[in-house]
């Protein structure tokens, strides 16, 4: 158990607390979870009381992730014994089939759950994932769009759809997904910045600049937005009228100063700063005093 993350775990209590934190934060630390399970928790699982069922589920999923089927089977057996008619456990059974790439059996189970419970979002998403895992991207995108018609507020699904469109290089549709997210979360600087990234990639530098500025207003430490501002103002320099031109110059200089400060604040070595400076020379407009 030598991963950095597990250095602080000294005993059973630390281990169970760490597992709880990972559960609450929905973090995917599968290998570490299994290490804690075999090292601390499994020998005295009953100390957890009712929490043990959540831990069984958590360890089951981690075991599937690491293709450790013996541990997965143990956990599933315990859950099945306790919750024999549970849809949630049924879903876990189906996920075991997914882990073995037997999507046909997995889908059969998901369909049977949906017959009783049409709008079970977890199971609908598992069905989607079966499509993604089989690389059936067109079907995946179509079904994900259908899902989002039912669950418009599911921001993770919007992000997933955005990423899928980006991989297919369909920037217009990816931008649309981010627009939905920005409407839902107007104060999230990451969404503003990512939208700006897409607009930049599409060559819409003016719009990109605007959104980088929104993002920086919300979080002036977003380095990607600072670089984005630098790039957009540099790209806009050749197509400017006087007022706009001088604004661009000021923003460009400001972005450059902010970035320099960031690198200096963490004591970056000379070579790295030189790399960044050569970037500036290429992207600076107006007078370069250094």
């Amino acid at each position: 158990m030598s991963t950095k993350n597990l250095e602080k775990i000294k005993n059973w209590n630390d281990a169970s607390l760490q597992l709880r934190n990972w559960r609450d934060d929905n973090v995917r630390m599968s290998k570490e979870t299994l290490d804690l399970w075999t090292g601390y928790i499994a020998p005295s699982i009953n100390r957890l009381g009712d929490e043990k069922w959540l831990v069984y589920e958590q360890v089951f999923l981690a075991a599937l992730d690491c293709q450790n089927f013996p541990i997965a089977e143990d956990c599933l057996a315990a859950l099945k014994a306790q919750f024999s008619s549970s849809k949630r456990v049924k879903k876990l059974r189906a996920m075991r089939f997914e882990a073995k790439e037997d999507y046909h059996s997995a889908l059969e189970i998901y369909e049977s759950i949906l017959e009783e419970d049409e709008t079970n979002a977890h199971v609908l998403k598992r069905k989607l994932v079966c499509l993604k895992a089989q690389n059936r991207i067109n079907d995946y995108v179509r079904e994900l769009n259908e899902y989002l018609k039912l669950f418009q507020a599911d921001h993770e699904a919007w992000l997933e759809l955005c990423d899928t469109y980006l991989n297919e290089m369909d920037f217009a549709k990816a931008a649309f997904c981010l627009e939905e997210l920005i409407l839902m979360y107007p104060h999230n600087h990451v969404y503003q910045q990512r939208y700006a990234d897409i607009k930049y990639t599409q060559g819409q530098f003016d719009l990109a600049k605007t959104y980088y500025l929104y993002s920086l207003k919300l979080n002036p430490n977003n380095v990607r937005s600072l670089y984005g501002l630098l790039l957009t103002t540099a790209n806009l320099k050749s197509s400017q009228k006087t007022k706009e031109g001088s604004d661009n110059t000021k923003l460009n200089l400001w972005a450059r100063e902010q970035i320099e400060k960031k690198y200096n604040d963490v004591d970056s070595d000379k070579n790295l700063i030189d790399s960044v400076n050569s970037l500036f020379q290429y992207l600076t407009i107006g007078k370069n005093e250094k």
């Binding site: 990512r194 690198y263 050569s278």
Partner: protein, 201 residues
Amino acid sequence: MKEISIGKLAYSKLFLHLAKYPQLSCNGILLSKPSKNSSVKFVDCVPLFHSSFTLAPAFEIALSQIDSYCQQNGLVISGFYHAFDNNNQTEPNMMCYKLAEKLKENGDVSFCLIVDNSKINPSNREPCFNVYSFGDDQKLKKFPGNLNLEEGTYETCEKLLEENRFSLINDFDNHLDDVKKDWRNLKLNENISAVESLSAK
């Protein structure tokens, strides 16, 4: 061009990048020393991203800084690697094609290493990727020549994995999230050299 080779450092860093993000796609840039003869040796690599590979801004910044790093160290950008998150995808896609096309601007040919997920087990003793080349014909084709690995490469990777060193590698995404994280991985380079000298004994 009949053969290409890849050094321990480049291969190990590629491997560690994959190990750090097993559930995501990853890519990175391969660097080599300019050579007069027709062989290419990848001596170093810069892990780039583990998300949003097709967005231009981060990529332009990365490429520009890597260019500068190359000039400081007498290297050239000669290709890239890409690992798909989907277990079964082994062929390059449109994104890979565009990247290969972009990197070819540096020379006669650029290389694209597509990781084969079935070969990344540390006990494996063959290269974990397939090599494609992009030449003047503007096509991304499987490279028919030989691929040589430096001696001790696989053992080094196995050791690094055992010691959980993959958490130490930083890619450009990590750097943009926190500029303290060095995308050149200079400290890690030293660590890898230290492992090399152990396995040589």
